[in-house]
């Protein structure tokens, strides 16, 4: 069964909303545009990395980037196959502004029979001034 892009995006948002750790961090899927997925973690005091600075923790940014990367693969696949992160590299350009949440966009850049590559960016204000970027490879489960 191949779904429409809209059906897939809607399901993807539901799947992510059902992941306990994504829910615990407060990840919100904002949308899907073509092969790009966008999600957001609103600021919360318990997501902070350093109590004095009130800057969101690096681990939260990484978790968001990994989730949105997997979502971009899921949307690009447009069929149900298991997706597991094989490896992920994150580059931390600068800390987020204090007291602000982080938005992330991911794009699936290449799919082969068994793996998919993604590229993602996390930012507090605009995509052109990233907090962090990521590249990763996801392993795809057996074709249905």
């Amino acid at each position: 069964m191949t779904l429409t892009l809209e059906e897939h995006a809607a399901m993807q948002a539901q799947i992510m909303a059902a992941i306990p750790h994504a829910r615990a961090i407060g990840i919100e899927v904002l949308g899907v545009e073509g092969r790009t997925c966008v999600a957001r973690v609103p600021f919360r005091d318990d997501l902070v990395g350093d109590p004095e600075s009130r800057i969101i923790a690096g681990g939260v940014v990484t978790t968001l980037l990994d989730h949105i990367g997997g979502s971009a693969v899921a949307v690009a696949l447009r069929e149900f196959r298991s997706i597991a992160t094989l490896d992920l590299r994150i580059d931390y350009m600068r800390p987020a502004a204090p007291g602000t949440g982080v938005t992330a966009e991911a794009e699936c850049t290449k799919i082969t029979r068994s793996v998919a590559f993604i590229r993602a960016v996390a930012y507090d204000q605009t995509k052109d001034d990233p907090v962090a970027t990521a590249v990763g490879v996801y392993m795809l489960g057996a074709e249905p």
Copy 2:
């Protein structure tokens, strides 16, 4: 001021215990042995990545690896300088066993004037059968 290894390890554990996001996830510093730091995230239902499998989320493993990597740098430095993750690569070997927490060990493999390299491993049972491994580079702040 240069601290003894024990003083440093104790302070490091205190610093980590004060990081809101590390506390929210439940990271416990287990100890320092030479240049190696060990920490643990006990299993909790809200840390799960997939509600059916009860397997701890990849993001939690990554956050633990990043924290313990930074701790290994802090211990290796033995003086107070700011430490920021510059980049991190995580390889996910296999999912953790359902319903189990994850332990991670990190070692600072090289320190230069301005950066430090780490290597880390996360596992559920033994270090020889890792859930994930990480390598990363941390930027060091100005010398005191």
Copy 3:
């Protein structure tokens, strides 16, 4: 001394032409456009990775990506400081076509006081269908 972009690009091409290993592989700097550098390795039989397939070796692609990444940093700096690769990640999307050379483009995405981040892509036909992509961090020497 701050050079014009053109002066810098010209010098950069000269510097690269003077690197024995870059010369041995046959790297040609094609040009600089804004913050983007482009270089090329023409096909040669001794650069092949597999004698039957006549596909250019992965190591040649990596060497090209690392060189062009360093060049993008040099151009973005616009002053003379030493530049050393700190770490580099390469994702290999697909083999190059048999008997063809490889072109690479790199962009310096962020410069801080002591490090610079790059993103690069290598392709045989068009940038939209890459052979490999790279992200990396370069360490900058003391300011002059």
Copy 4:
């Protein structure tokens, strides 16, 4: 057909000796011990990265690490399947000493049905003081 470790190691050395780019750089396979492969690039003037320093180029070190990583996978597999680098991360700890060659050791740390993980280290004098380290993932072709 499953080969003995010795047969495999011998074939592996032959295969690598047949790779034009490996031969052009002068890679010599030194041996296989358990799951670890060792190879070497002797110093040569045309492998230098900077004509003044006579330090071997980063690209040569990377090429050696990638080759030896693939060899470690081949030896660990002990059957003939195609092996392609999926991604590779290299951390450059320090330049090699001027006028010296580089030795590299790689170990296959995990094999799944379709991918293999490696860890490798390159050094001029001893393994404990590396010039560079690498981690990577290799894609395995269909089982024979």
